[in-house]
Every structure is written in structure tokens, then in C-alpha cells.
């Protein structure tokens, strides 16, 4: 951490390049610098000597020589990533090269309010740091993804429908009680998009990540940067209308995709199917638990339950209908789908694709890839840690 505090602007710029291109070679790093080759080489050597970067597991080069690749050194400190969902909480401690050092997830209800939830986050952070033998002062930065619209500069939620008590709550001040490290907060799907951007070493300029869980949201990457919109609410696709004659949503409008294909709608449809005697499996799960959740529908669907399959199909088609509008407007190269619907597996994805390919123009879909988020359930934590690292490096470069 001391090393981190004393970074020069130039060093931070080089570290930034190593962070965003994991496995970059020594030559590659020197080449990209805006100074002469010899000065760049000297700077890289100095970083190595100070232990800010280190050579990573060598890999076979095409010429048979072993290429020396670089990565950020663990001695820089650690990052904390927090992924808050409407119904769950994940905290991770990561090395600067995004290696997961310690991780914990548990059910949680964001509606318990910020004081209680963040107190638990602080406890988990301390426990996880202790588990990997690190001290709070070694934390470079803390990144948090939350399921609602965020004022990024203030690190506060703004009128979040799923967690009203959090409106304008000073998350930074709350965590400062225990941790001196800077804190950044962003919408959960923006954070997932940032994580995927890191995974692809910023090589993919324009793509979207759709999260389908209790809510439905979208993270947008434009010109290689996360795009937050004019007032930070870009990607709020859950209330795009997919059927003007559809059911009423909690937002007041009718036919919102979230009201038709979000986690709650899926659970409700499953309970209806169970009660109507359309599915033995859903019926017994409902009797057992008293309620059904998206995970139950996924389990039944994977087991071949016809009613569950129909629900999964329908939700996929409706999400695809919303996505078709997004694809026509935004023409992304990739659509990554994350959140609890990943449990639905290939049949959901097939329905989404069918809908998009039917409703979007050929030019927009010719090279379009639609798949589940490659970082899968780690997308939230890796994204949150990426946010912390990106912003810490930006700050150090000023």
C-alpha cells in the first residue's frame, strides 16, 4: 500500500497498461509508451525492481523462445469487490491481477436498509482480509455494484425502486468508519460490463450486458468505456414495453419486460402453473417451500418439466423482444446475458436469439453474438474489483 501511495504519474500509466492487458510482454509494454524506447525500457525495469510488477508464468512463444509476460504485483495491495443483489450479497478480496484471494456470498435483503447491510459488508470485508492474511490498510480501493441507478461521482443511489431506503445514502462515509481506502459505487450491470471489458482487455469497443434477475437492467460499453448516460440511468431497459396489452408493472405502465419476464413474474407464472396442476414437479416444490423462485423453475426446466420449459421459453422470447429494440438502436457486437437466468441454460438463450433474429435487421445481427456472460457468477465481483482498480489507477495518473 505504501508503494501504491508513492506511485508517480508515469508509473501509474504503465501499471494501467499492464492491468488492462494481462499477460503483456516486456517489449509490448515499452512499445506503447509515449517516450523513447530506451527510456521506456528503463521505466519498465524500474517497476520490476520496485516490485510493482512481476514476470508471470512464461508461455511458449511462436519462435520457440519463452516470452516474458508481466502482471501487477501482489505487493501493490488488494482490491475489494462487493456485488449487491436484491436478494444476495457477495464480497471478494482480489489481487491486482484479479486473482480471487477470498470470497463469500450469502442471501441478503437490500430492503433491510443501508445501515444493516453495510455493517454486514464491513464484517465480511474484515473476515475475508484476515482469511488471506491482509490488513485493511493494504486495500487499494473498494468497488461496489448495486441493483439501482447511481450518481457515480457521489457514489450514491438515486431513487432506487428495489431499495428505496438507500436513496442518497452516503455509502462512502459508512465504509470510511472501518476502511481508509477510496470507494466507488456503480449500478450492478455497469459493473458487470466493466468486468467483461477487463476480461477482453478492452479489445471489444461496443457491447452490452443484460442482467435478468429480480430486475432487468443493461450495462453499455461504448467506444471502449462504460456509458452511464446523461443522468446515470442508461441501460434501464426493464421498463421497455414488449406488449402494450400486457400486465401492469409496479412502475405504473403496462407490458414492461420486467413485469413479464423478470424474476418475480417467472416465479408467479410458476406458482400459477403449479396450482393449475400443469406441473407435478413445480407443485411439489411449491408445497414443500410455500413459494417458488426462479431457481426452482430452472431446476424443473432442466429436468424436462414441460410447464417450466414453457415459462422459460416465453421469458426468453420476451427478453429477446426488448433486446431486438436495443440491437436495432445500438448495433452492439456482443450481447452478454447474466443474472439468475444463466441457470436456465441453453433453452432460454435459444428463445432470446430467436426473438432477436426475427425482429432485428440483418445488418445488425449479421455478426452479432448473443451468449451468457463468460465471467458467469464471478462477473459482479470481478467487475466491482475492476471498477476499484480502474478508478484508483486514474486517480494515481492525475
Amino acid at each position: 500500500m505504501e508503494a501504491w501511495r508513492q506511485l508517480s504519474n508515469k508509473e501509474a500509466t504503465l501499471l494501467d497498461r499492464v492491468f488492462w492487458s494481462s499477460g503483456i510482454s516486456r517489449t509490448g509494454l515499452a512499445q506503447g509508451a509515449a517516450v523513447s524506447k530506451s527510456r521506456a525500457n528503463a521505466a519498465v525495469a524500474a517497476l520490476l525492481e520496485q516490485g510493482l510488477i512481476e514476470t508471470a508464468a512464461a508461455r511458449q512463444d511462436t519462435g520457440g523462445r519463452r516470452a516474458e509476460t508481466l502482471r501487477l504485483s501482489p505487493s501493490l495491495g488488494v482490491l475489494v469487490g462487493v456485488a449487491m443483489g436484491a436478494t444476495g450479497l457477495e464480497v471478494g478480496v482480489l489481487a491486482p491481477d484479479m486473482e480471487m484471494l477470498a470470497h463469500h456470498s450469502e442471501p441478503a435483503d437490500v430492503r433491510d436498509g443501508p445501515a444493516r447491510v453495510l455493517a454486514r459488508v464491513r464484517v465480511l470485508m474484515r473476515e475475508l482480509l484476515a482469511r488471506c492474511g491482509r490488513k485493511p490498510h493494504e486495500v487499494i480501493g473498494i468497488g461496489i455494484g448495486v441493483p439501482g441507478p447511481v450518481h457515480f461521482e457521489r457514489a450514491q443511489l438515486v431513487n432506487p425502486p428495489l431499495m428505496p431506503e438507500w436513496d442518497s445514502y452516503a455509502i462512502r462515509d459508512d465504509l470510511r468508519a472501518d476502511f481508509a481506502a477510496p470507494v466507488w459505487v456503480d449500478n450492478d450491470v455497469n459493473v458487470m460490463a466493466l468486468g467483461e471489458l477487463w476480461r477482453m482487455q478492452r479489445q471489444m469497443a461496443n457491447f452490452v450486458v443484460i442482467k435478468v434477475g429480480t430486475g432487468i437492467g443493461c450495462g453499455i460499453v461504448c467506444h471502449g468505456e462504460v456509458y452511464r448516460g446523461a443522468s446515470g440511468s442508461a441501460g434501464d431497459v426493464g421498463h421497455i414495453c414488449v406488449d402494450p396489452h400486457g400486465p401492469r408493472c409496479h412502475c405504473g405502465n403496462v407490458g414492461c419486460v420486467e413485469a413479464m419476464a423478470g424474476g418475480r413474474a417467472i416465479a408467479r407464472l410458476a406458482e400459477e402453473a403449479a396450482r393449475a396442476g400443469q406441473s407435478q414437479m413445480l407443485r411439489s416444490l411449491l408445497d414443500e417451500q410455500g413459494t417458488l423462485r426462479l431457481a426452482d423453475v430452472a431446476q424443473a426446466s432442466r429436468a424436462g418439466d414441460v410447464a417450466a420449459n414453457a415459462i422459460v421459453q416465453r421469458a426468453g422470447l420476451q427478453v429477446g423482444q426488448m433486446l431486438a429494440s436495443v440491437v436495432n438502436f445500438y448495433n452492439p457486437s456482443h450481447v452478454f446475458i447474466g443474472g439468475s437466468v444463466q441457470r436456465f441454460g441453453p433453452s432460454f438463450l435459444a428463445a432470446v436469439r430467436q426473438s432477436v433474429y426475427q425482429r432485428s435487421l440483418p445488418l445488425s445481427t449479421r455478426q452479432l453474438e448473443i451468449q451468457y456472460t463468460p465471467l458467469a457468477e464471478r462477473a459482479g465481483i470481478i467487475g466491482a474489483a475492476t471498477l476499484a482498480m480502474q478508478e484508483s489507477l486514474r486517480r494515481a495518473q492525475r
Copy 2:
């Protein structure tokens, strides 16, 4: 033009700043340069001396002193902007500071094919240049907006539904027969968005321009740059579904906004209303002309015709419905509406706003402005000339 050819990289960078900030002061221009103040001042003085920039009409400064503002000099050459619509053609010759020197518009049918239409464009270019006493070799660059998807690097249309004969036609080679100046082609709405970006001196980072004419399209500005998408088809909003139970569109799907609120749909609804005896005014226009066009509906609506008003209202609500999806996804600061619908005046705009405010989330609309394109009918030509200037300056900076 000779002066233009001999521009150094540094000079081009300064000219670029003058172009994008019309009315910048001498001090302002020197301040933004990445070199020392005295060197920057010297560079600005040199540009003035070479006649590449000139001092413009002085304006009163707050302190009572007259501030000296700068603009690009006419001696740099001229720009040609071409705005091609499905049913009309406009050509303009502009000074480097976007002053319109000569301008001509006429009805045209893009379906006549590229050879005939571009032959006419070349004739008009020669005539307009002659009219303002300029020679073809003085043309710095030519910018063209076309109503279809464009492969920007190749300057070619790709599968354009409204103008199939233009698919992959080599527009650059065609114009090269008469003009040596470089040619850039982009989608008509992207070009309008670029024009508005210039008008606002790049101070507005994230906004969209919607054009409603025969087709419906959208130009997107993201992080202060026109966003074209992964395969150049971003903004293709005409086929966003606004009613899954709506009429069939020429694209094969049902309920596309273009099939319900585009120019052809509006004309068809007006003819139906005329034949059903719902409007005396539309009926007599139909009898007179044998057909009705969007302009007729606008005329009748402004004259208070009830049936025409209902058509305008309905189209506005449907365009607004599509826009609500765009606003939820993209959260732009401004939506500018252009194209023939500008003739509908305030009642169309009111219907669009009503629809957007009802269907978009409060956070996205809190600071959202929806208005007609401030550049109005000049948006296409100014945008095309801006494209030519932007790309010429980029080339000179390499």
C-alpha cells in the same frame, strides 16, 4: 487549397480547435495547446499571418474590452455538403466556418439509381461552385448523407432498403471523375447528428437525432462522437416494434414504428380519411393531386383539420413510444427530431413528449429535452459539410 495541402500536423490541430469552437478567442486557442504559452501564441500568430485563420466580428467582453475571436479563413477553400433524401436532393457549398455560400434543393428519386443521381449531383456541384466564384480544385472535401446504412470506410451503402440499386456502389470513384477532393459518405441521420454536434461546439456529449420522413432513423452521439455501432447500422430504429398487433411492415415484421408513423403510413392514413369523408380539406387535396403526402397532412393539420390533426397526434404518440425505449436504454440529454415531420409543428412534438414522459423512467426524463433539430432544414447540408471538414482535418493531423 494549396495552403490546405501544405498544413503541418500542428497547424491542423489548431485549425481543428477553431473549427469546433467557433468564436474561440486568441487566448483560448493558445491555452488549450499542449505546448508552452509563448510557443502556442507564436503558432496562432503564424496561422493568422498565413491567412489560415482570421479574426471575426469582435464581440463585447464582460470587462468592456473587445474580445478578438477567431474563425477559419475562406482562403482555406470550400466544402461541399450533399444531403440525399428518398425523395429529394440538396447540395450546398460552404465556407470552412460553415457559412452557406450557395445552395440548391430539388425533388429527386434515389431509386433512379446512383449513376443518374450522382451525375446530377456533379452538375449541381459545378453550378454552385461557379455561382460563388470557386473552382473545383478549391474544394477541401465532400460530405454526403444518404438515407440508408453505410460502410463508412468504404463510403458505400450496404443493403439499403430504400435504394437497392445503390448497394456497394462506388460513390467515391463516381465523383472522382470530376472532383479530386476526398469524399466521405454517412447515413443521413448520423450526418445530421454531426451537424448538431458542431452547432453545439461539441459541448453536448450524449444525445440523439431522430429523423422521421419516408423512413425513420436515429443518429447517436456518444462521448462527444457520432456512434455508428459494431457494423455501422446503429440507430436503425424504424423497425422497433411499437405494437405486436400492428400492421405488417415491408421488412416482414409487424408493428414497426416506420410502418405505423413513417411518411408513407401517414400519407396512406390521410388518403383513407379523405376517402372516408372525414376531411373536406384532405379530400380536395387528394382530388387535385391524385395522391397525398406528408406535407399535405401538415398543411391540413396546421389549418385546424380535425382528421389531419388526429393522424399527426397518433404518429407522434407512436414515435414517442419508440423513443421511450431509446430514452430508457440510452438516457440522452437531448432528443432532436428532424425530417419532414418538422412541418407538423408543436402538436406532433407535444404527442411525442406525452408518450415519452409516460413510458420512460423519471430519472431518464428529469433533464431530458425533446425538440425539433435547431438546424432545421439546414441540418443535412451543415452536417454533410461538417463531416467533410472533420475528416479532412483528421487526415491533415496524421
